[in-house]
């Protein structure tokens, strides 16, 4: 019987492995949970629930003595969509609420408010914020100060104390003119969803094979190490790309986030990222011997850094140097700005090319490590 050519039998072996993995993944309802339900759930939570713009923040306004001025300021605060204010006479009535966390800040208009409000030699109002929630406190402080400044400008305009500022700053926001926080959060979230499929699911499934000893059984077959890697990566690659298509589709169609790049570039950049994350998942599962360790490692090396250290929620340049250096090793650091650029700006080569190269480099290193560790574990 003539021996079949080497390449076609390799392709057949890979094909069989891919089919087996795909069946295994699709049969388990938890794959559907992580590839389908969770991405959509997260998108909806971020789309509707997580907004970095303030709305209806509860504050307490202490008016020690009512005057036309305090009434005018009160009206401008009441019209603000950012705050929902409660009015009291004495600041002691609100201090307990600040400790209990029922309000985020206090605005105190002292009895001397009228007399001093237009001069700089004495500060007419005080803003107190709850510093235990630092992020919100900073925002509340800025918004309240801004509100006060606007009110003061209007007030002075009315009293004809001509105070036209000599220099006028005109802010313009490119790519996201409406300051829609959804528009820059949701593209970043796509990266998070792919990380979940790429690292968590792969690490779990392959760790189970090691745990049960079926990996050794697989290695006893004529399959080579490269074929094995391709066979393991392909099904999760397909699943990850499906999760991405679902996330991108929901982002564009349901949440109306603009997409200004080209889908082909998106698919290319996403593929590089996904391969890097899959390689990390494989590496984790090969080193960790059981699913408990693999799952925790996948969360620690995949999901949490993708949330906290990717620039998705927190600015990388503002982090201390050692952490900034650490972020360079994370594929998500390159993928999040790539997605934000593709969605909001377009195919900007200056952003996409270096980022894709960096992710590809990480993918190659990790894949090499996987091949090495797998071989070592079997010897």
């Amino acid at each position: 019987m003539p021996k079949p050519p080497e390449t076609s039998s390799a392709a057949r072996r890979i094909g069989a492995l891919v089919r087996k993995e795909l069946l295994q993944v699709l049969r388990d309802p938890s794959s559907l949970l992580i590839g389908g339900v969770l991405p959509v759930l997260l998108l909806f939570l971020f789309g509707y629930g997580v907004s970095l713009d303030l709305q209806n923040i509860k504050v307490c306004v202490v008016v020690e003595q009512t005057s036309p001025m305090t009434t005018s300021f009160a009206a401008s605060l009441a019209h603000s969509p950012f705050f929902s204010a409660r009015w009291v006479r004495d600041r002691r009535q609100c201090e307990g609420d600040l400790v209990a966390g029922r309000i985020k800040g206090m605005v105190v208009l002292p009895a001397s408010f009228q007399a001093y409000s237009m001069r700089s030699d004495d500060a007419p109002i005080q803003v107190l914020v709850d510093g235990s929630d630092t992020n919100t406190a900073g925002l509340v402080q800025n918004y309240l100060v801004g509100l006060w400044q606007n009110w003061l400008d209007e007030e002075q305009m009315m009293h004809a104390e001509t105070m036209t500022p000599p220099v006028n700053l005109v802010p313009r926001i490119w790519y996201n003119p409406a300051h829609e926080s959804r528009d820059f959060l949701l593209p970043g979230l796509v990266a998070l969803n792919m990380t979940l499929v790429g690292t968590l699911l792969t690490a779990l499934v392959v760790a189970r094979e090691w745990e049960r000893g079926t990996m050794e059984a697989l290695m006893a077959t004529p399959i080579g190490i490269v074929e094995l890697l391709i066979g393991k990566i392909t099904p999760y690659y397909l699943l990850g790309m499906a999760a991405m298509a679902l996330s991108v589709g929901t982002t564009i169609l349901v949440f109306q986030v603009p997409f200004r790049g080209s889908l082909l570039v998106l698919a290319g950049v996403s593929s590089v990222f996904l391969v890097a994350m899959l390689a990390i998942g494989l590496l984790i599962s090969t080193i960790a011997r059981n699913q408990f360790v693999a799952s925790q490692a996948a969360l620690i090396l995949g999901f949490l850094p993708a949330t906290m250290l990717s620039g998705f929620l927190f600015e990388i340049p503002s982090m201390p140097l050692p952490i900034r250096i650490l972020t360079y090793a994370l594929p998500a650091r390159y993928f999040v700005p790539s997605l934000q650029t593709l969605f909001l700006a377009g195919d900007v080569r200056a952003v996409l090319q270096p980022n894709a190269l960096a992710m590809g480099f990480i993918a190659l290193i990790v894949l090499g490590a996987v091949a090495r560790v797998t071989r070592l574990r079997l010897d």
Binding site: D28, S30, L33, I34, L41, L42, L45, L54, Q55, I57, V99, G101, K104, M118, S120, D121, D122, A123, P124, Q126, V127, D130, G131, S132, D133, T134, N135, A137, L139, L144, V145, Q149, L152, P165, P166, N168, L169, V170, P171, R172, W174, H179, F184, L200, A288, N290, Q291, F292, S295, Q296, I300, L304, M308, L309, F314, E315, P317, S318, M319, V348
Partner: protein, 369 residues
């Protein structure tokens, strides 16, 4: 009966502690995460790059640019030469914002006409851009005030005294570390509980437990108590590092914090056991636990205030134990929160614990028949 439960507890703890990898996972990652995230999670924006296109040659514009250059927020202020470079600087994300000063700037100022300067911000980093806009507004306002004062015409406008209680310098770490105690304890506590039953099911040792004289409720207690011990130990480790190494002040009552922790961990274990009574494999248990964890984290008020969320989402947050624990932890750490206020956040967690634990017991018993 207590004897039997005790044996099971010892066995569970040994199973976790004996494997060096599991042992490492219980200690190393939470510590590393605590330290890395407590430094990374800051909404402050510093050391960002700014670009300036100054088409004006006069002294006033140079002065304004200098004020931006000396401001502590920007690591680098790059001068652009041509208008075409503006798009390039922003597109490539080289600068977060471009300040554009037109050629009439100095002339307008001299003539007493309002002079416009443009600040073009990168909306892809919308949040940081907004903060940078705030910085720029302040710099320009200070510049205006000095110009007016130099003219000696009017009083410069009055300023607001903004003060922050409990955390005078708004050190981000003081707010995030107490929050991270809840996050990290939940992550580990839930996975440990969810996995402990699922692993036995998957390996077939669960049947052995069932034929032993242990009753289902005893097995459940035997699974819950070790997770409780692990959770309290984990939280204590994080607490010690937070206070001793990260310098987060602790002004409240330690007893109240532990009371909060005990109820919180009970609620977390309730959810974990509930998940493990539903699933058949470890993979399903982990993914199920994670499907609970991710929304619980997002809706806890840790990142964004709960009031910010739309009304229809608010009821969902009521079932999130992390929401209550975050208030207690931050309150006890920084605000010396008293019993009455802690209790208000304690009882909802107790209800969650009660509901999930009884649901888990019920489901557990039913699946055995």
């Amino acid at each position: 009966m207590w004897q039997r439960i005790r044996f099971l507890i010892v066995k569970e703890l040994l199973a976790l502690w004996r494997d060096p990898r599991s042992r490492a996972i219980l200690i190393v990652p939470p510590v590393v995460q605590l330290i890395v995230f407590s430094f990374a999670m800051t909404q402050e924006v510093t050391s960002v790059r700014l670009a300036v296109l100054n088409e004006d040659l006069g002294r006033p514009s140079r002065e304004l640019v200098e004020r931006f250059a000396f401001a502590p927020y920007f690591s680098d202020v790059r001068a652009l030469k041509r208008d075409g470079e503006v798009r390039q600087a922003l597109d490539s994300a080289d600068a977060i914002a471009v300040l554009r000063i037109g050629e009439d700037f100095s002339r307008d100022i001299a003539a007493g006409k309002p002079a416009d300067v443009e600040l073009i911000l990168d909306g892809r980093r919308s949040n940081a851009a907004q903060i940078v806009e705030g910085y720029a507004t302040n710099i320009v306002a200070a510049y205006n005030a000095d110009l007016i004062a130099a003219g000696g015409l009017v009083h410069p406008p009055s300023v607001v005294v903004a003060r922050s209680w409990f955390n005078p310098n708004l050190t981000a770490r003081w707010g995030t570390v107490p929050g991270l105690i809840g996050t990290l304890t939940m992550l580990l506590g839930m996975v440990v509980t969810a996995l402990s039953v699922a692993r036995e099911r998957e390996l077939g040792t669960f049947e052995q437990l069932l034929v032993s004289p242990l009753r289902p409720i005893e097995i459940l207690i035997g699974k819950a108590v070790p997770a409780f011990i692990v959770g309290i130990g984990e939280a204590t480790l994080i607490l010690v590092i937070a206070v001793l190494a990260l310098g987060v002040p602790f002004v409240g009552s330690l007893a109240l914090l532990y009371a909060g922790l005990a109820v919180y961990i009970a609620a977390v274990i309730g959810v974990g056991l509930f998940i493990s009574s539903l699933v058949a494999t470890q993979q399903q248990a982990i993914l199920g636990a994670f499907t609970f964890f991710a929304p619980a984290l997002l809706l806890s008020g840790f990142f964004t205030p709960v009031e910010n969320m739309p009304r229809w989402l608010a009821p969902v947050t009521l079932g999130d134990p992390m929401r209550y624990f975050t208030v207690i932890s931050r309150g006890v750490f920084l605000k010396a929160m008293r019993l009455a206020e802690v209790a208000q956040n304690l009882w909802p967690m107790a209800v969650i614990a009660l509901v999930t634990l009884s649901a888990a017991t019920w489901l557990f018993g039913r699946r055995l028949e």
